[in-house]
């Protein structure tokens, strides 16, 4: 591909108004200066600046956000709006195969391309693993590829176009490995083990209160159901982007659209093998997070490329990378078994859930824990047992996403609640009120709850909606 680009016969193109392939020769590395200044005179009147005056309360005000004016003017500087002098553009080559061993990587053609300033493979990374709980995720796969979005090599070049051509020019030879692509399959003893060992289960959780068997024995009826929710993409409008920049003293500054700069700094320190204090992380305004920008993705790779090239390096995910190389919401398979009394009181609930963790751990443990704790729903159930497992598969890594397992279990427990209400002929509002937490209720973990407002929320919603009971 790159050869094709480089060696294309340009004679056909050297005709009027056709200015082809010049990009590759162009290498205009100088910082471009602004050609058009925004016509807006700043600051605008009336100014959004401190005003001294009467002010009785700040809390409870429908106050204008401090960033809203810049947002509306298009002046908010997101990370992709920042360019440092001499900055290079990085691209990461994605495996495209979900389970394989890298036999050989040949980066020589990429390195020889004009405009390419640095190339990096996984073996060059000081500590090639990261993760918020288990450090099981490589920055660039070496030598095992565990999902199709794994990076295998990276390039920094003077333009994005050259970087793209360069990663196309990197040759990677894979030895295919067996794979496992389904969470339930991954539980089987003979399934492919994504990280070796004898199981794909990498975290489990039990939340147990009372005695569910006793509860079921006393139940008037027992309801059982399986519920499934799929993998979901965060899809923030801003793709994941970072810039790495070293100073001459060996201090690294990373600009990143990341919601957790302290964790990011620790992860970078560990992977790069430099002290935490030598790294500065500047979290730029995040263009949508939803849990997808809670940890590093490529920053150490950019830092190493920047170090090699001696110039700042920006990396911006394409929209496709945003899907395949970021994390996603865990797909859940949930078995719910609930015992109720004749008047619709929940007296026992057993939940078993299997989470598809994808190739690496990320925030799986937290997600699993929250899901198990919350699986009773906002209801007082004297006997409950939740057990959950999260398994590796050769799929996109599942991590934190808005709700951490709560939307999944809520879908299950509220669907089943509806079934129970209909089967028992109890109004769906009434059955919830009968079971709901109240001030001082005990949760599934034995916690005494305070400021419990679930009944009020139900009453308000019913009133606002105009829900009328049907006979």
């Amino acid at each position: 591909m790159a050869d094709d680009v480089m060696e294309r016969d340009v004679s056909v193109l050297e005709k009027e108004r056709v200015a082809p392939v010049e990009t590759l020769r162009r290498s205009d590395e100088a910082l471009r200066l602004p050609a058009v200044a925004p016509p807006t005179a700043l600051p605008l009147e009336p100014p959004l600046v401190p005003q001294v005056g009467e002010q009785t309360r700040a809390v409870g005000l429908r106050a204008q956000r401090p960033d809203s004016r810049n947002h509306g003017l298009g002046l908010t500087r997101y990370i992709d709006d920042i360019a440092l002098p001499g900055m290079l553009f990085a691209k990461i080559k994605r495996a495209g195969v979900a389970s394989a061993r890298i036999v050989r990587i040949d980066t020589s053609k990429a390195e020889a391309m004009p405009g390419v300033k640095a190339v990096l493979v996984g073996s060059e990374i000081p500590v090639n693993s990261f993760g918020p709980s288990l450090q099981d995720q490589p920055l660039l796969a070496a030598p095992i590829v565990r999902h199709a979005g794994d990076g295998v090599a990276a390039v920094a070049a003077v333009t994005e176009q050259i970087a793209e051509a360069a990663i196309d020019a990197i040759e990677v030879e894979y030895e295919p490995l067996p794979g496992v692509y389904d969470a339930i399959e991954a539980l089987k003893p003979d399934s492919h083990k994504v990280h070796g060992g004898d199981t794909n289960v990498y975290a489990s959780k039990i939340i147990k209160r009372g005695d569910v068997e006793k509860g079921f024995a006393q139940a008037y009826r027992i309801y059982e159901g399986r519920y499934y929710t799929p993998g979901i993409e965060h899809a923030p409008m801003e793709p994941f982007t970072s810039i790495a920049d070293w100073d001459a003293n060996g201090r690294l500054t990373v600009y990143a659209s990341i919601g957790r700069i302290t964790l990011a700094r620790c992860d970078m320190s560990r992977t790069l093998g430099i002290p935490i204090s030598r790294i500065r992380v500047i979290g730029t305004v995040v263009g949508g997070n939803f849990g997808g920008k809670n940890e590093i993705r490529h920053e150490p790779v950019l830092a190493l490329l920047a170090k090699k090239a001696g110039r700042p390096v920006k990396g911006r995910f394409t929209r496709v990378e945003e899907f395949v190389a970021s994390t996603i919401r865990h797909a859940f398979t949930m078995d719910y078994k609930t015992g109720v009394t004749k008047d619709g009181r929940l007296i026992a609930r057993q939940v078993r859930m299997v989470l598809d963790g994808g190739a690496y751990c990320s925030f799986s443990e937290t997600t699993l824990g929250k899901a198990c704790i919350l699986s009773t729903g906002p209801y007082e159930i004297p006997n409950s047992l939740a057990e959950g497992y999260v398994v590796y598969t050769n799929k996109t890594t599942a991590g934190s996403m808005r709700g951490f397992g709560a939307p999944q279990v809520c879908f299950a427990y509220e669907s089943q609640m509806d079934e129970i209400a209909r089967d028992l002929g109890i109004d769906p509002i009434e059955i919830r009120v009968r079971n709901m937490f109240r001030e001082g209720s005990i949760s599934s973990t034995g916690q005494v709850l305070h400021s419990v407002k679930v009944k009020e929320s139900l009453e308000n919603a019913v009133k606002k909606f105009g829900w009328e009971a049907r006979s």
Binding site: R32, S68, R69, H71, G74, N289, R319
Partner: protein, 177 residues
């Protein structure tokens, strides 16, 4: 190739490779970074700008296709006198959250209000269907366009209204799909 466009009222030229999109021309050559790169293939609308009065995806138009045309970006909306009503309403009501989609949403809304000064909710929803937003659920944006329309109309004298392009027949007149 050389490209000359009138952007936000100023005539500008640049020499760019032919495969340069209007979005790259604006962001990298003119440093007008208001239009955003969200998907780069016309799905998200974060790059929306107005070319010759029409809202378009700047990522799907070559710089060469914009040659000689008039382009308005988010940076060209406010004047020295103040904010455009859309900007005013959006900032006051919290219509934007992370704000990344905002420049596109505002430009789509502007193109709509230029064409239909008093749009229905259905027309607003239709005009913004090409602008994905992951934060807001669109509600405050839709309300904000209504409010901005009212502001614009209250400041427009009947005489200037009459000189405006006649409103095209309401899209809502077409049966819903």
């Amino acid at each position: 190739m050389n490209v000359t466009i009138t952007v936000n009222g100023e005539v500008r030229s640049a020499s760019v490779p032919p495969e340069t999109t209007l979005l790259v021309l604006l962001r990298e050559h003119f440093l007008l970074t208001g239009a955003k790169t969200g998907c780069d293939v016309g799905d998200c609308g974060a790059c929306t700008v107005i070319v010759d009065g029409k809202a378009v995806n700047a990522c799907l138009m070559l710089a060469g296709q914009a040659d000689g045309r008039t382009v308005t970006t988010i940076e060209g909306l406010a004047t020295r006198e103040g904010l455009h009503p859309l900007q005013k309403v959006f900032e006051e009501t919290g219509a934007l959250q992370c704000g990344f989609c905002g420049p596109g949403v505002i430009m789509s809304s502007k193109a709509l209000l230029d064409e239909i000064p008093n749009p229905t909710t259905a027309e607003i929803r239709n005009a913004l269907a090409g602008n994905l937003c992951r934060c807001t659920g669109y509600q405050k944006m839709i309300e904000g366009v209504h409010e901005a329309a009212e502001m614009l109309q209250s400041t427009t004298t009947p005489a200037t209204l009459a000189t405006k392009t006649p409103a095209t027949p309401a899209l809502a007149a077409l049966p819903q799909r």
